[in-house]
């Protein structure tokens, strides 16, 4: 493992307010947590986890599905759903429609969530995976709708539901439509709960705002990826409101575990087997 930066490893201090740089093109990448220069293909081989400090890089939905499910088993549905801009959102000449187009091109995804059926170590599941590169994984109508469709599929086929969350929260371009998706997904999960369905929610970096305050927190079992940012209000908002420096490690997965809001922190390489194990425990 070649390491360029020789400076002392800086300790991970929770979420950094510094703007996260996107992975630059080329062979090298810098870990946003320990700031080591890393060989890109080595990071990729390591499931996009920093070999130096175990920082879990943000990954797109398809990469995530590739890590998680049995080869060739993912059958995606409803991939055509797109927002039709209910508010006709336009702020100083920046329209939501433009943003949707741009992010579709950027992420190769039509929305911030992909759903479908898959097998994880031979166990059938309904999978809902968020796409952090599409409008910051925010929840608008389509994300709410897809999550509900996934719940309904899971009820219909009596399968466990696994959601991989990664989201900046509600999508403000859809206003109250977006807010309503929090109630909608929670109501659908209440129904799933009544039907005896098993819901595993995996919170990855970052899971904040309206997604945390709805379906992400409503799993029977809550899993977090190491060092992921998880919270309600964004750290910037909190810092600006209370005008106090935030404590070390605030709003990390470890913080959530310590305060009793997740069941376990699971390394990316163990996620498949942990999910399979939980399904085996809870299978009726």
């Amino acid at each position: 493992m070649p390491i360029m930066a020789k400076e002392a490893k800086s300790k991970w201090n929770g979420f950094s307010l510094k703007k996260r740089k996107e992975m630059p093109d080329g062979l090298w990448t810098r870990c946003p947590a320990c700031e080591h220069m890393l060989y890109k293909s080595a990071v990729e081989k390591n499931l996009n986890v920093c070999p130096e400090c175990d920082y879990h890089f943000r990954i797109d939905a398809l990469t995530r599905i590739g890590y998680l499910v049995d080869e060739g088993s993912f059958e995606e549905t409803h991939d055509h759903l797109t927002s039709n801009d209910p508010l006709d959102f336009n702020f100083r000449g920046t329209t939501y429609r433009q943003r949707l187009k741009a992010d579709e091109n950027k992420s190769g995804s039509k929305e911030a969530m992909r759903i479908g059926k898959a097998f994880i170590k031979g166990r059938g599941v309904v999978l809902a995976v968020m796409e952090p590169n599409f409008l910051m994984g925010s929840m608008g109508y389509v994300v709410g709708e897809k999550l509900c469709l996934a719940v309904e599929k899971a009820i219909e086929e009596k399968l466990p539901l696994v959601a991989i969350c990664s989201s900046g929260g509600a999508r403000m371009h859809e206003g109250v439509v977006s807010l309503g998706q929090m109630a909608k997904t929670s109501a659908a999960l209440a129904k799933f709960d009544k039907e005896g369905g098993f819901f595993i929610s995996v919170m990855t970096d970052p899971t904040t705002g309206g997604v945390t305050a709805s379906f992400a927190m409503l799993g029977d079992c809550l899993i977090a990826e190491p060092k992921a940012l998880i919270g309600f209000a964004g750290p910037r908002t909190i810092a600006e409101t209370i005008k106090v420096e935030l404590p070390d490690g605030f709003q990390t997965a470890e913080f959530m575990l310590e305060h009793g809001f997740v069941d376990m922190i699971v390394h990316r390489k163990d996620l498949r087997s942990e999910i399979a194990r939980l399904i085996d425990y809870c299978q009726k």
């Binding site: 508010l87 859809e174 109501a187």
Partner: protein, 359 residues
């Protein structure tokens, strides 16, 4: 159910005029001057005063019939706007407050208690922003912490056990963004409220009376009906916050308010709220009694309808309503055709090395 629209508005204090009400303020000043003169000089100016009054009413009607979104936000945040305690005093008989979340504490930003509205026993839950600095601080300016949401839910379950309907009065800039709030699980508390309120086995009426700030409002805002006072607002993010994110400049809030479609008029059009409750001429703060009366009448009328509905049907309807949120403005998406279409996509599989799970 417009009432009192033509009654002369009550005079408000000098500092209580909003930026866009300068003409209204001028009329008041002129009338005061005439009244002063007539008392000094004994001349009868009552005809002039009446004329000015009529002009003032016309001016207020004009202004309030075409408030911009940002002006609406200012009315909703008006310091003299009726707050939860006004409703409790004027509308609720025999109110008995219930304290505490049984876990951490008693959040003063969230009030819950039994009372009677019309002839119905209800549980009232709502945020209190507080009036005057001391009370505002005690109430945390209406920004509830997790214990507030947990208190609300605990009391709602209590009420549901005995078949008592729930009325929530929403008035909050948002759930509190603080260190303690995160430590105690603000997100989890709100999520659980949405989850449980969606299936609470009694009628639930939610009314936004002032500020409907995002998840903090929604945390007590899931039910069979959602109504808004005419000049309240309900939004996924504050206009300042939205402008800050999109434009890195909170002072662009007026434009953001417009873009967010947060007024009762817009939300009715989008079918995201069920009803807008009329406010007296010139906004709720100009006539607290009439405002509260209008809200009371809405509650009585709506409760009568909901109480006639069989519980099973009530819950089915509530679920259908929540499940359909947003499908009206985005109706084009709801085609069932694609449901069966399955696509297998090319994915690069990386086999993680790890311990196998027990089979």
């Amino acid at each position: 159910m417009a009432i009192a629209q033509d009654k002369n508005p009550e005079k408000i204090g000098d500092g209580d005029y909003l930026d866009f009400e300068q003409k209204v303020a001028d009329f008041d000043r002129q009338m005061d001057e005439l009244r002063r003169l007539s008392s000094i000089k004994g001349i009868d100016y009552s005809a002039e005063v009446r004329r000015l009054q009529q002009e003032q009413v016309a001016e207020l009607k004009q202004i309030y019939s075409q408030l911009t979104a940002w002006q609406t936000v200012q009315v909703a945040r008006h310091p003299k706007r009726p707050l939860l305690p006004d409703y409790l005093n004027l509308m609720v008989k025999d109110f008995r407050e219930l304290h505490g979340d049984r876990c951490f504490g008693d959040d003063r930003a969230m009030v819950a208690g039994f009372g009677q509205i019309g002839r119905e026993k209800v549980l009232i839950v709502g945020q209190n922003k507080g009036r005057g600095l001391k009370e505002k601080v005690a109430c945390n300016f209406g920004c509830a912490n997790p214990e507030g949401y947990r208190k609300a839910l605990a009391k709602m379950k209590f009420a549901a056990k005995f078949g008592i309907p729930v009325v929530t009065l929403i008035d909050t800039p948002g759930a509190y963004p603080g260190i303690g709030a995160e430590e105690r699980g603000q997100a989890q508390a709100i999520a659980v409220n949405l989850f449980e309120m969606s299936r609470l086995p009694v009628p639930v009426i939610c009314i936004c009376i002032g500020e409907g700030g995002s998840g903090g409002a929604l945390g007590i805002g899931v039910g069979d009906r959602l109504a808004m006072l005419e000049f309240s607002y309900y939004s996924v993010i504050s206009p300042e916050g939205c402008a800050g994110i999109l434009w890195r400049d909170g002072s662009q809030a007026p434009e953001a308010a417009e873009a967010l479609k947060l007024t009762s008029k817009d939300l009715l059009k989008l079918k995201l709220v069920d009803e807008a409750i009329a406010e007296p001429l010139g906004g709720a703060h100009r006539n607290i009694h009439d405002t509260v009366y209008n809200v009371e009448q809405y509650i009585i009328r709506t409760l009568a309808v909901l109480k006639r509905t069989k519980l099973e049907t009530l819950l089915e309807n509530r679920y259908a309503k929540l499940r359909a949120v947003g499908s009206e403005p985005t109706a084009v998406l709801r085609d069932k055709e694609h449901k069966t279409k399955i696509k297998t996509i090319e994915i690069k599989h990386v086999k993680p090395k790890s311990v196998p799970a027990k089979a």
